[in-house]
C-alpha cells in the first residue's frame, strides 16, 4: 500500500463541500432536473467520503458500500426521470414552483 501523501482531511473537506453545494442547490434551484442533479451530487459526496474512510480504515467493505449506493442511485434515476417525463408531458414544465395543483 502506497502511503497517501494527500492527507485524508482534504478528501473530507472536498466531500463536505460537494455535499453542501448539493444541499444548497436543492433548496435554491427550481428546475426539477437541476434539483435532482444536486441530489446526485450529495450522494456522490457520500460515496467519496465512503471510499476515503475505507482507505483510511483499510476496510474493503467501504468500497462495496459505494457499489451498492451506485446501483441504488441508478434505480432512483430511472424512477425519477420517468416521473419527470410524465410531468413534462402533462404540464409542459418541470419548474417545481409552477406545479401548484394542490393548495391548503
Amino acid at each position: 500500500m502506497i502511503t497517501p501523501t494527500i492527507p485524508i482531511e482534504h478528501y473530507l473537506y472536498l466531500s463536505i463541500l460537494l455535499f453542501s453545494i448539493g444541499a444548497i442547490g436543492v433548496l435554491l434551484r427550481r428546475n426539477a432536473i437541476v434539483v435532482f442533479m444536486c441530489i446526485e451530487l450529495m450522494l456522490n459526496a457520500a460515496n467519496l467520503a465512503l471510499v476515503t474512510f475505507a482507505r483510511y480504515h483499510g476496510d474493503a467493505a467501504g468500497h462495496i458500500y459505494v457499489l451498492l449506493v451506485m446501483a441504488v442511485a441508478a434505480a432512483e434515476v430511472a424512477v425519477g426521470l420517468a416521473i419527470m417525463i410524465q410531468v413534462f408531458r402533462l404540464r409542459r414544465t418541470v419548474d417545481v414552483d409552477e406545479l401548484r395543483e394542490m393548495r391548503g
Partner: protein, 116 residues
C-alpha cells in the same frame, strides 16, 4: 503538496495534448465543406432538429440501459474472487442474474424495447 503537483502535471499534459491535436487538424487537414457534411451526426437515429420531439421510447431505452448497465458493477468484484467464493458465490450470482433476466423478460414483453 507533492501529489497535487503530480495531478497538476497530469492535467497539463492531458489538456496540452488535446489542444495540440485540435490545432494541428485545424491547420493541416483539408477542408471542403458542403451542407451534408455540416449536418450534426449521430449514429442510429436519423438526426433531427433540437426542438423536434423525440419518441419517448428513446428515453425508456436509455433508462433501461442505465439500470441493466449498472448491475454489471457487481459482476466485476464477483469475478475477481470467483474461485475463492466456491459454490455459494456461484449460486448467489445465478439467483441475482435470474431476477435480472425476469426483469428483462418483463420489459421485453411490455414492448419497452421496440423502437417503432
Amino acid at each position: 503538496m507533492g501529489s497535487y503537483g503530480t495531478l497538476l502535471v497530469l492535467f497539463v499534459l492531458a489538456g496540452g495534448i488535446a489542444l495540440v491535436m485540435f490545432t494541428l487538424t485545424h491547420f493541416l487537414g483539408p477542408k471542403a465543406p458542403n451542407p451534408t457534411k455540416d449536418m450534426p451526426f449521430e449514429c442510429g437515429n436519423i438526426t433531427k432538429r433540437f426542438d423536434q420531439r423525440v419518441s419517448v421510447k428513446f428515453y425508456i431505452v436509455a433508462l433501461l440501459f442505465i439500470l441493466f448497465d449498472m448491475e454489471t458493477v457487481y459482476l466485476y468484484p464477483w469475478a475477481v474472487v470467483y474461485r475463492d467464493l466456491g459454490w455459494m458465490g456461484f449460486w448467489s450470482m445465478v439467483s441475482f442474474v435470474s431476477i435480472l433476466v425476469l426483469g428483462l423478460v418483463y420489459v421485453w414483453k411490455k414492448g419497452a424495447l421496440d423502437w417503432e
